[in-house]
Symmetry: D3
Subunit: 135 residues, 6 copies
């Protein structure tokens, strides 16, 4: 009997989509205005889902305060008010698309959460574009 | 060829998280400010999903007016403007966590809906914390 | 390793729910005020989901600009500011319920998108009633 | 010491923007796709504001249940699931723009509310276009 | 040249609307289900507005971090996860209607903010009922 | 008899809050993490309000398509996917706080709109922080 709880969080960051091994023209044709050399940015809104069984003693799947703190440490403190390309080592060689950011977040949370839980990540890059990754 | 329709509803309630067999100190350490002896409360926002096949004659999966009325009778009239711990028999011995409330709602709806349908429940305890239960 | 990206869009349309082979009384008893002979209407809000694998070169599942344009051509230009019963051939004989509109949209998008992708459609008829179709 | 309370409501309707004394070409050039002869429609979302002084005895500005019922009778039952051009006498000669609908709603509510209150109306025609009228 | 900045916050609380000097029947007839003797509750969502002139040196009207902290100390820590009737001295003799809660919040913030600023408070008791107080 | 219509728009941008004539330590103490030298960014959500009298012939205050296009040209094309500090001349010497961005937008729109209208600008820097400027 599985159930899933969700917690929202958010961070603001600058980024640029491009490949170093492509010239400006190619980057522009593939990534459009997202390849602006001086960066642009987003308010990323995050929903983390945790699936598993309810603890009979507490009626909790997981303590939401604990989940909130893990998200704060692993995601908000790592990514908030940062330049994803310049400040985050994971994106030195990898394009910070919303797909890749979602996978990075999932990996960081998966690593800190009890293996009995399933983890999912929904990440809004804008109110109109978002991504879901479940591992 | 399955399809799922969703209907939103809402109710407001007071509750307290605690176990009678634990002392105040233990309740506080596990449930934090949610164990305030005088209760606190929430606007619960509910999304009920019904999955199945479309009726060829009407183009409906289910008559949404009928679904709205079932939710009103089984959920809103039962839980709205109540103290979950004191007024709802199901929570006399069970902690009214969002997980347990979602399961109670699912059970009550499942009982009233045609068995050909699958039922899911998404319950927001706050705009930032929510739960999904699918049976 | 599958991931899903989502793009929102919207269109406004008039419609009426009824069957030509039923008299007014029967239409009224089944479809209620939705069978008003002079039509009523909605702001339909759409979320299109595309699932598949990330392109290693770009970090994209699909170019969101391309997806935006396909939705614009196949859904917005086809349905926006229309009377679904009178202006859309698909609904000459089929009731324009939200279920049938979602399936029509899914079919039109499925037809234009690379077969390596899975497609899902979430359609809000009102902020309180919506439907999900995944094929 | 003035304070303002607000109540939300909603209705769905079809409409068409045009002038009978203009030909199709002129209507099209002024009203664009909103002049589609077969109508289109919207989910209108309404916020009604009432300003005045608090009743010391109850702590209410106005009983929100009473306000809810007045909005239901004067707005929802009058406009919901209607064709504004064909079913609503006020729009037989007047264009049902969001501006004119807001004024009609304000007039109907003003007429039913105690003259000691100030009344304001915010009407969303879509989530992106809305109007405020305060008399 | 005045400008207004806004900051959102939130708290969850239980309350009951009633007058001690009225019997149950009268309380029920005036306050309806809001007078449930065992309380009910809400997620209160708050928007605080501060009006004044921009500081030329920083480009800020007010440091939003400072505003966030004042709201946290004066509102969230005072009201969150509380029973408004039992835990908050201001409501020992005064009904905790949304109107009175908004005025209490305004008074507490006004007291801590520089007198050069104008202060406004918007308080959502539910997503459908809210109040604005500007002093 | 004045009425106000509103239109939403949005743009994404990178920025940094700092003064060139202050050292890093002072910038950090005043602007906190917003002074990150490598920038961060936001999805700016905009609501433009236009007040005036209704045109009796059309029932419009202003043609919303025209307003949409003016916002697109003056705001979205000027600011979207830009680094506000590096790409926008107005912010070469002025800090791109939400207050200053709102005033810049107001000035650009005021300049293009008929002087018979009043103009207001509401700008969300995040879903939790926003500003209103009315000239």
């Amino acid at each position: 009997m599985s159930i899933t709880v969700y917690r929202k969080a958010h961070f603001n960051a600058a980024h640029r989509l491009y490949r170093k091994d492509w010239d400006d023209e190619k980057n522009k044709s593939v990534f459009g205005k997202c390849s602006n050399p001086n960066f642009h940015g987003h308010n990323y809104e995050l929903e983390v889902g945790i699936s598993g069984s309810i603890d009979k003693e507490t009626g909790f799947l997981i303590d939401m305060e604990e989940l909130k703190n893990i998200i704060k440490e692993e995601v908000e403190e790592y990514l908030d008010h940062k330049n994803l390309n310049m400040d985050i080592p994971d994106f030195k060689e990898m394009n910070p698309t919303m797909e890749n950011i979602a996978i990075l977040i999932w990996d960081r949370l998966r690593n800190k959460l009890n293996s009995k839980f399933k983890v999912s990540v929904k990440l809004y890059e804008t109110p109109r574009n978002f991504v879901v990754y479940t591992g």
